[in-house]
Symmetry: none
Subunit: 243 residues, 4 copies
């Protein structure tokens, strides 16, 4: 592996370890020792690859946002059309296993909370919000056929709804099924378009396309054993603090 690749790889490993620790312990309790130990490296290494812990954290947020954007970008790339099926794809992406995991939502919430008082994080989040709202606006404009302002309002509401559902899921991941969340977002759009809301046994259900999409687990390419893998946290570990 070339030198440049090693550098990028180490940074990625450290960022992954940081996200892992934030998911498990939160931003406040996460120390440089946790991160470096989690990545199976020495303590000094963080300041070798990052100017400071703060900069590592900012890059971690950037990674999170990049992953998010890649995910919804990929989802809409699969749909040629600018209409309801694009909206369905976007919703499915927001509630698939990758974007709507306890781990990820924990970290996102931690950063939202941090962003409230720290502008560097805030700016990153604002930029990401602007992007997704633009995309949602465009898709809703095609679907609803009304004015741009109408579509903008709808996009704001849909985006807010998604984030609010994420927050619900984060605060109580055991009781809420991702499928249900997706169905609720879909029913919101149904109501916007005047379509009948699908209800089965008193529960809203998502559209078949969404149900299918959110179920697909993204196959994560297995880490090669050789690469001194940071010890893999069991998903349930995330709730160790919560007893």
């Amino acid at each position: 592996m070339s030198r440049a690749n090693v550098k990028d790889k180490r940074k990625a490993q450290l960022i992954a370890a940081a996200l892992e620790s934030i998911a498990k312990r939160g931003l406040m309790e996460t120390t440089i020792t946790h991160i470096s130990k989690g990545a199976g490296m020495s303590r000094g290494i963080i300041n070798f690859y990052f100017a400071s812990k703060e900069m590592l954290l900012r890059e971690a947020l950037k990674t999170l946002i990049d992953e998010y954007e890649a995910e919804w970008a990929e989802a809409i790339a699969k749909t040629g059309d600018e209409g309801r099926s694009k909206l369905d794809a976007l919703i499915a992406a927001h509630f698939n296993k990758k974007l709507c995991s306890a781990r990820r939502l924990n970290v996102m919430s931690a950063f939202w909370g941090h962003a409230a008082s720290q502008s560097a994080y805030r700016n990153q989040l604002e930029a990401a919000d602007a992007k997704i709202e633009t995309v949602l606006t465009s898709a809703l404009a095609h679907t609803l056929g009304g004015s741009l302002d109408e579509a903008k309002n709808a996009a704001t509401q849909l985006h807010a709804l998604i984030r609010g559902l994420w927050l619900n899921f984060m605060l109580n991941p055991r009781d809420v099924a991702r499928e249900m969340l997706a169905a609720q977002a879909a029913s919101f759009i149904d109501r916007l378009t005047g379509a009948p809301v699908r209800i089965v046994r008193d529960h809203i259900i998502a559209r078949p396309a969404i149900e299918r999409a959110i179920g697909e687990a993204k196959a994560k390419p297995a880490r090669k054993a050789k690469e001194a893998a940071p010890k893999q946290l069991d998903i349930e570990d995330l709730f160790g603090n919560r007893a």
Copy 2:
């Protein structure tokens, strides 16, 4: 003033100073020194009134939640009826100056982020969520007239929408008017009930009752000067870090 009252008063002052500091600096940067100085007291006092900083923080969250619940409880108390006007009152409460201020939302976000990994905070927030969702469910059940599950779903969505809008407001308080947020929540209900969504010049507008209610500034009882008031932060101060 009796002993017990003095004690409660000091605790309340410290909690207020803690909330002030969290709004301004965030949870991570808030230290005991900030809090005690902000309350005009000595450093050692916190461990005199609270078992630890952690316990102070938990009580601070409790205070925040109590205020929230008092606010919506008061709002619905004014409405005898269990229907649309109750929903309007609830929405107005959620977006009035008190509950929807940059200061308050900053603190709430910080606690949401912290709760992601800290069960004590999480449990407090879950309990509060359960309460408000019950109230919303009941009001929606009367308004919509459908099944309980339908009302529950609607309540979940409405609650998520409100929180999502709060998050938007927190991340970008200058660009978003509270009135607009209230209008968006109201239009969501309009759609549920099949009522026409009110649009003026391409913008959703809230119902007159809501507009009136959210405008009322809650008269905050002036702190007596005698009480060594912590220096009052200008609301704009909250964003000093963000430039």
Copy 3:
């Protein structure tokens, strides 16, 4: 003891411990742990009384300079006259046990070396130099009776000579007697005034008044045992590193 006094006292103790450590280990090797341990206190205390290690060091230099100035001020205060006896008193002061000790000269040299690249220290030393050169100039003007510029030149030379002799003494304190140094400075003045240089058995000797003055050990008031005295370093300890 009053609170304010405790504060000043602790600062003085920490400064003394810092000077002790610098004399023994030098500026580079002196750590906050050395200083606080040397003062018999906890590590955290330094940042309680000083903004930083750097500020402690600056105050330590200030203390050193204050002591120096107090010493020569006291010496000339004892001499009513502005002439040769004042010069004798000044020379005696510069080579008495207090100002011309291995400990003190080690620390001074360390600060001179540091001042070469650090302006804060440099400014302190420059100000002190200006003061003593003014005093020397005045005394030499009266003694020599020439122009002010002549006196200034002589003062510069005398001051340089004193510091050069100090440097000699610092680099080799065992081989050089303080009395001899004083005699050499005195002979410099003798030559300026045209007086015969006193030589006994091929060595320059100082004037009787100087010999007497430099011999007087300043009785240091014993530290009260009660006061948790930092462990007293034996004078020979200073050269532990030098083997």
Copy 4:
């Protein structure tokens, strides 16, 4: 170039970079990174050519001393005679551009300060002092014609005077002209020999021979461009820290 030469050359470059950094930043702030970067080499290289940073520093001091001795040796080599003209040559050497530069004096002071507590450096400096004092003694013995002890005393004083003047120059290089320093040292000798001290407009002036000698800029053999020369510091750069 042979292997041994390459090795010596690299060492010399590293030493030069170390001296540069010490002049600019002082001994305390100079790190291995500063030195290797200053020499245009990689970080790891220092421990390849030197056993440790400490050893590099000792060799740097040795270089400094060697240059010093070469300079005064060359000066007296040009004078056949063992008398006043030899003394003049020695004084001129001590205050010429090379030995009496801010850069060099900063470094010397740093090492004096360090030597106060570190015997390895101390021993180097003591040995150098012994050499120059022997030479000064011999020249003064011939000039004064008195006893050896008289000459020794005079040598000690002259040496101390020179170092004291250097210290003055270091602490305040802008206000002091090298020519003036040389003149002051010369006048010291004039007084020893009973010669009239030369004064022009109330200022001491050096002997013509000295004035001439200290003015000669030693032509520094230009570093070949090819050799990745460490960026040359402007002489004024040295005082960047001091504002």
